[in-house]
């Protein structure tokens, strides 16, 4: 089988992932977290039962990997203002209290594990730094907002 023929199922799996899962997620930041969560911590391989059942596990894994990298670059290209807005949408859609999420994110920095493998190191640093800044800006806004009685 030639390379082009091999790419077709990956493209189909990618389109399927986009249509069935990613389009239903509220923002790019949430998409990134979701895609990173499909990656195994130890092996670095991506797993998605539904996608693997419709295609093949390796094809599904490749589609997830491509989508992960794509969303990561998209998010890293956002301005700080846009990233703060992404964070707002993410916090609004979260079932936890925004203040708790902010505290945990600032303390544990879980977004570090959301970086795909084999991305440009300078872009990875920019992403981490921008998330840190966006969190600080959010915190600042929260502290200045009038408290509800």
């Amino acid at each position: 089988m030639n390379a082009a023929a091999r790419l077709v199922p990956v493209q189909a799996a990618y389109d399927d992932l986009l249509q069935r899962s990613l389009s239903k997620i509220s923002c790019d930041l949430a998409r990134l977290i979701y895609l990173a969560s499909t990656r195994d911590y130890n092996s670095g391989n991506y797993h998605h039962d539904g996608l693997a059942a419709r295609f093949r596990p390796d094809v599904a894994g490749k589609a997830l990997e491509i989508a992960h990298r794509q969303v990561f670059y998209q998010l890293s290209a956002y301005s700080l203002e846009e990233l703060v807005e992404q964070l707002r949408i993410y916090l609004d859609s979260s079932h936890e209290r925004a203040a708790d999420v902010l505290r945990i994110w600032q303390k544990l920095e879980p977004y570090r594990v959301a970086i795909p493998l084999e991305v440009n190191p300078a872009v990875a640093r920019l992403f981490l730094s921008n998330v840190r800044l966006a969190l600080a800006i959010w915190r600042f806004r929260q502290e200045r907002a009038p408290k509800n009685p």
Binding site: S79, L80, R112, P121, A122, V123, R125, L126, L133, I137
Partner: protein, 183 residues
């Protein structure tokens, strides 16, 4: 009017000074970025220049404007510190990528039978210019804010992409010639 020996002497001193600035910049950038709390993701063997749209983003004045509008001195301080580390990491990565490209090119050139003087000279000059730019950027980022040297950084980013493309093209041509020579 200065004589040829004086001009040569001045030229040599200037060249040595430029090499010193470039080397100082590269070492300094490595030290500064490795001191940061961000894990070192650099895999020198596979390092490519950073895509141009991200170079523009790192050195963008818009983010600074957004942060300064909050009116928080603490946020401004945090932004300056964060962006400086990212900018220095980019300088370090660019200088590593440029050196890797030239190393690969030198290795390939050793086995080549049809080196073209003009092409080789252009590549060496491009390399020297990039190393010098990295040194200058390192010093400038240390003393001023990254957004102030945006033009220089974008120019260095474009040059590094050009060098990577030139090396890629040469590799393709050499591989093509070897293939035809073997068949």
């Amino acid at each position: 009017m200065i004589g040829i020996p004086t001009a040569l002497l001045l030229g040599t001193i200037l060249l040595l000074l430029l090499l010193f600035v470039a080397a100082r910049g590269s070492v300094g950038a490595r030290e500064s970025t490795s001191r940061s709390d961000v894990p070192l993701l650099d895999d020198e063997a596979a390092l490519d220049p950073c895509p141009p749209e991200f170079v523009a983003r790192i050195f963008s004045p818009d983010d600074w404007k957004f942060v300064s509008e909050t009116g928080s001195a603490q946020l401004e301080k945090l932004f300056r510190r964060e962006r400086k580390v990212v900018a220095l990491a980019w300088v370090h990565q660019t200088s590593l990528a440029v050196r890797r490209i030239m190393r690969e090119h030198t290795q390939a050139a050793r086995h080549s039978h049809d080196l073209q003087f003009a092409t080789e000279s252009k590549l060496v000059l491009l390399y020297a210019e990039l190393m010098l730019l990295c040194g200058m950027l390192f010093l400038a980022i240390q003393s001023a804010e990254p957004q102030r040297v945006r033009g220089l950084a974008v120019y260095a980013g474009t040059l590094s992409q050009r060098l990577a493309q030139a090396q890629h093209d040469l590799k393709t041509i050499t591989a093509g010639r070897e293939f035809h020579g073997a068949s």
